[in-house]
Structure formats: structure tokens, C-alpha cells
């Protein structure tokens, strides 16, 4: 089917208009405002002790949450696609819960479960001197929760598409489960995993709602980069806030570039 030239242009204009006002201009404004008063304020905020700490905490969270969710995501996808069992449909829906629930509710639910008052689980941690809520573990758990479906949802369709004949062939050639996974399945789902990791990373970097509930927002202690950005605005340091927001954006872009490079090298 060929769409007439005019309507093609029409569709293209709608898309571009939409992208310009909802995506490009707002992001461009952040760039502009960050450096409006010169490079100095921006740099000072980002490199302040509090700013560096927020950056470190955010990166630590990414370094724990993303690998865990990647391993879980690939395993869950394998279970969902390659195995048949009762309750599979329920498991499939469970994985989407983080998409459906508001991050604030996620944060509250974690406070209820892991907080020292309401449940046996929370009390157990409290009695053993492990602080989860208002501390780094709570932030990591919240980030794992919100970013849990991404790898699964990227890998499942790829597994469906490649089918299981290659895996069966590997087995007939003597490969055990791990050899089959590493040499046949993983290379085939590589791009799905990559996109899952990139989206998970972006989500964990930017998570605000759930983290703000569980962190307690202790400045210089449990403040991640997005919370730090918010705090800069609240203390009327607009330029500093924009600059910190830029750091977040750059980190997400770096992830994308890095994952692409890793895949390129594997291909050669």
C-alpha cells in the first residue's frame, strides 16, 4: 500500500510537532538553563560534597539493582517461554505489577513490609540491626521493584522468535544446560538483553517516587541524584538543579553507548 505524498507529509509533521514540544524543547531548556549563569554554579553544585554523594549513591544502586534484575529477567523469560506449568499465566501477570502500580505505592508497600513496626519480616531485620527503610538497602530494593519487568519483557519476544530448535540441536551435540545457554541462547537473545539493561539502567538512575518514600531524604546520606535535583530547586538553586539533571541524562546516554560498544565487539 502506498500512502499519498501529502498524507505522508501530514503524518510526519504530526510526529515531529509532538516530539518537538513534548521532548526536544523541554530537554533543550534544561541544557540552556543549566549554563545560563555560566559554568561556575553548575560545576560547583555537581561537585559539592552533597552532589558527589548523591551521584555515588545513585551509581551504587544501579550497580546492584541492574545486574540482579538482568539475571532474574533472563531466568524469568526462560521459565515463561521454555517451560509449561500450572500458574504460568499468573507468574506472567505478576511480573507486570511494577508497571501497573504507582511508584509512590511501591515505596509505601516497602515501608510497610520492611519497616520495623508492622510485619515479622521488618521486625526480624530490626532485631538483627539491619536498617532497610531510610537506608541504602531500601533504596536498592525500591529500584529493583520498579525496574523488574524491563529485561523480562525485552527477552521474552526474542526467545519466542528464535524458537527452541537451536537449543535442542546444541543438546544433541553434547552441550549441557550451561553450555547451551552460554553458546547458543545468550548470543541469540543478546540484543534483547542489551535493550532491557539500558532501559532498566535509565529507570533506576531516574527513579524518584518510590525512592523518595523509602529513603527518608536524609541529605548527604540517603539522597540519590534525582532527590538531589529536587532539593536544589527547593533551595532555589535552579542552575545547580538543571546541571545535576544533565548529569543524569548523560549517564543514561553513556549506558546506551557502552552497551552498543560491548555488542559490537562481541560480533567481531
Amino acid at each position: 500500500m502506498t500512502v499519498p505524498r501529502l498524507s505522508q507529509l501530514g503524518i510526519r509533521s504530526v510526529v515531529l510537532f509532538y516530539l518537538t514540544f513534548l521532548l526536544l524543547l523541554p530537554v533543550a531548556m534544561v541544557f540552556y538553563r543549566a549554563f545560563e549563569d555560566g559554568f561556575g554554579v553548575a560545576w560547583d553544585t555537581v561537585t559539592s560534597e552533597q552532589g558527589i554523594h548523591a551521584l555515588q549513591l545513585t551509581l551504587t544502586t544501579v550497580a546492584i539493582a541492574v545486574p540482579l534484575n538482568t539475571i532474574f529477567g533472563v531466568l524469568a523469560a526462560l521459565v515463561l517461554v521454555r517451560q509449561n506449568f500450572r500458574g504460568k499465566a499468573i507468574l506472567n501477570s505478576l511480573i507486570d505489577i511494577p508497571f501497573a502500580i504507582s511508584p509512590v505505592v511501591i515505596g509505601l508497600s516497602l515501608v510497610l513490609l520492611y519497616g520495623p513496626r508492622d510485619t515479622a519480616v521488618g521486625q526480624w531485620f530490626f532485631q538483627h540491626g539491619i536498617l532497610i527503610i531510610f537506608s541504602t538497602p531500601g533504596i536498592v530494593i525500591a529500584c529493583i521493584f520498579v525496574s523488574l519487568p524491563f529485561v523480562v519483557r525485552e527477552v521474552v519476544p526474542v526467545l519466542h522468535e528464535i524458537g527452541d530448535e537451536q537449543e535442542q540441536a546444541a543438546k544433541t551435540l553434547g552441550a549441557n544446560w550451561w553450555q547451551t545457554f552460554r553458546r547458543v541462547t545468550l548470543p541469540a537473545i543478546r540484543w534483547g538483553v542489551t535493550y532491557g539493561v539500558v532501559i532498566s539502567t535509565a529507570r533506576v538512575l531516574g527513579e524518584f517516587g518510590a525512592v523518595s518514600v523509602v529513603s527518608g531524604k536524609v541529605i548527604g546520606e540517603t539522597e540519590t541524584l534525582p532527590l538531589f535535583v529536587r532539593q536544589q530547586f527547593e533551595t532555589f538553586n535552579g542552575a545547580g538543579g538543571y546541571a545535576s539533571a544533565l548529569v543524569l541524562a548523560v549517564l543514561a546516554l553513556l549506558t546506551l553507548v557502552l552497551m552498543n560498544l560491548i555488542n559490537r565487539r562481541k560480533e567481531n
Binding site: 537451536q166 535442542q168 553434547g174
Partner: protein, 335 residues
């Protein structure tokens, strides 16, 4: 390696894929599992491979019970209908896979891969990816991959099913030659009776999860034990309760003893053979396969009256009603 399958049953949900199947495959033979789709032939092959597990029954390879041995440890080579090529690996890495898994020294792998590439005629293609090969080339690569680790048993699941007719014919001949060169016990699954008869030394005809008959191609054609086998390995006419091959129906323009009067409905010239469609006095329809020479002598055209007489016919009793145990075949010599 000789194979013995004993009293094997396999169901998928409500579907009985294999129903008390017992089969012996002699060492070094080339055997075809032949049957319509859903007859259980692929399930039987996958069960011998270890890709499926039997609900009950035993599988012996070389006298050793392997019923619960995993597919990895059975020492088999398996070729899939849709090649199952490792898409992210080159031809060379595909072929070397089984050897790499077994941690074979690199120089040995290199030598073996080279030898196999020559054997399957993929010279100069070692560094290509499967997507850069034709269907026939991919299937030859898959064969080389299955043969690389010197399996005791080569199993092929509809190996030529996804290929076009011409390539199919070439590969058939090639598989037969390969088996002479590398005489490993080979079983292949097919639904094409011509393919089975052309390639195999022994054919196992399957229907509805059961083995109908095992025999050499000629034996099956000449002495089918059941109506199903007779109909599956060749064309048949039914006259009353007798089954007749179209080439066993003699035609004459003058009355002959034992001949039935029939009307020629249609004559089709199919190159070397001529197909004569008849309608008999009792309303039955049949067709006779005659040679061009016979056709020229008889000058058959539509509407002509002829006398048809079977030179050979078979009757089966209880084949449908009682299963293969109760079936008996009887050859009627008419002429």
C-alpha cells in the same frame, strides 16, 4: 549401532502419539520411518534421540538400556527439518560445535572440520554465516555438524521437507552415497513414500501411533500386510473388496475371461505413462495405468467400451476393524 525399541508408549495430553511400539533397527542400516503426519514417526525418532521421554517402554542402543540416558550422553547426531543452524556462528563454528563442547584439541578440530566441509561439498564457505547459504547448503552444513563428533547413530527428522523438489532429489541421492561412505546406522523420517523407497534399505510404515509393517521397499510394495500399507506405498483401485494397483489392471477391447465391462471416462497422457479413467457397470470408478505402446494399440478415447481384468489383486480382512494383529492379507492370482 543396533537399536531396539520395546513396547514404547507416549502420549501428549489426550493424543496417543506412540501405542506400544516395538522395533529393531540393524547395525549399519539405512532405515526410513514412513507415515502420514500424526502417525508418530517423528515422536519415535525423537524418543530414540532422547529428545522425548517415553511414558513406558525401553530404548536400547547397542544392547544398552538408554531409556533414562540424556540426549547429550547418547552419542547421536540429529538433523532437524528446519536445519536448526546456529545463526550467529559461521559454517566452520557450526560444524565444530560438538567437538568444541568435547574440548577436542584445536588442530584436531581444524582437520575434522576441513574433512567434513569437503564431504558435504561446502568448499570455500567455511566463513559464511547460515543466512548466506541456500536451504540445501544449510541442510548439508547441519549434516556435517551432526557427523562431526562421529556419532554412533544418525537421526534425520524430515531432512528434506523444507527444500524444493529438485534440491530434494539431489540430496536424496547424496544421502544414499554418504551412507555408503560413512556407514553409520541412519534413521530418517519422511512422509514421502517415493523418498523412503528411493533412499532406504528398510522402511518402517507407521499409522496412528503404531507400526503397520517393516520391510524392504520392494517387499512393502509387493506384499503389503495391511490395506493402509498398500494404499500408502503406492496407488490403488478398489473393486468390490479387492485392491488392485493401476498397473495391474489389463484392458482389452474384446471380452476376456474374468473381465468386467467398463466405460472410458478420460485418458490422460503423462509422458511415459497413460492414465485411463474408467467407470464400471456397477457404478464403481477405477483407473488403469497403461504404457504408451498399449495405448497406441488400443486407441482408447473417451466413451469407448473396454473390458478390465486385474492381473493381480489383494484382499485384506479386518484390517480396519481389528487392528494390525487381526489383519490378514490374501493375494488373488487371477491371470
Amino acid at each position: 549401532m543396533g537399536i531396539a525399541v520395546q513396547n514404547v508408549n507416549k502420549t501428549f495430553g489426550d493424543f496417543k502419539a506412540l501405542d506400544d511400539v516395538t522395533l529393531d533397527v540393524p547395525d549399519g542400516s539405512l532405515t526410513a520411518l514412513l507415515g502420514p503426519s500424526g502417525s508418530g514417526k517423528s515422536t519415535l525418532l525423537r524418543l530414540i534421540a532422547g529428545l522425548e521421554e517415553a511414558d513406558s517402554g525401553t530404548v536400547l542402543l547397542n544392547g544398552e538400556d538408554v531409556t533414562h540416558v540424556s540426549v547429550q550422553d547418547r552419542g547421536i547426531g540429529f538433523v532437524f527439518q528446519h536445519y536448526a543452524a546456529f545463526k550467529h556462528m559461521t559454517v566452520r563454528d557450526n560444524i565444530a560445535f560438538g567437538l568444541t563442547i568435547r574440548k577436542t584439541p584445536k588442530d584436531q578440530i581444524r582437520a575434522r572440520v576441513k574433512e567434513l566441509i569437503r564431504l558435504v561439498q561446502l568448499n570455500g564457505m567455511a566463513h559464511r554465516y547460515p543466512s548466506q547459504l541456500s536451504g540445501g547448503q544449510r541442510q548439508r552444513m547441519a549434516l556435517a555438524r551432526a557427523l562431526a563428533a562421529q556419532p554412533n547413530l544418525l537421526l534425520l527428522d524430515e531432512p528434506f521437507g523444507a527444500l524444493d523438489a529438485k534440491v530434494r532429489k539431489e540430496l536424496r541421492e547424496w544421502l544414499r552415497n554418504l551412507h555408503e561412505e560413512v556407514p553409520v546406522t541412519t534413521i530418517f523420517v519422511t512422509h514421502d513414500q517415493e523418498e523412503a523407497m528411493d533412499v532406504a534399505q528398510q522402511i518402517v510404515v507407521m499409522n496412528q501411533g503404531k507400526i503397520e509393517q517393516v520391510g524392504e521397499p520392494k517387499e512393502l510394495y509387493e506384499n503389503p500386510k495391511t490395506e493402509f500399507v498398500m494404499g500408502f506405498v503406492g496407488e490403488v483401485n478398489r473393486l468390490g473388496d479387492a485392491l488392485i494397483r493401476p498397473h495391474d489392471l489389463d484392458l482389452s477391447l474384446t471380452p476376456i475371461e474374468g473381465g468386467e465391462e467398463a466405460n472410458v471416462e478420460r485418458v490422460s497422457h503423462l509422458g511415459f505413462e497413460v492414465r485411463v479413467e474408467l467407470s464400471l457397470a456397477n457404478g464403481d470408478h477405477a483407473w488403469a495405468q497403461v504404457t504408451r505402446k498399449e495405448d497406441e494399440e488400443l486407441q482408447l478415447t473417451e466413451g469407448v467400451s473396454v473390458y478390465a481384468r486385474p492381473s493381480r489383486a489383494r484382499k485384506f480382512q479386518g484390517a480396519e476393524a481389528q487392528g494390525d494383529d487381526g489383519a490378514s492379507a490374501e493375494e488373488l492370482q487371477v491371470a
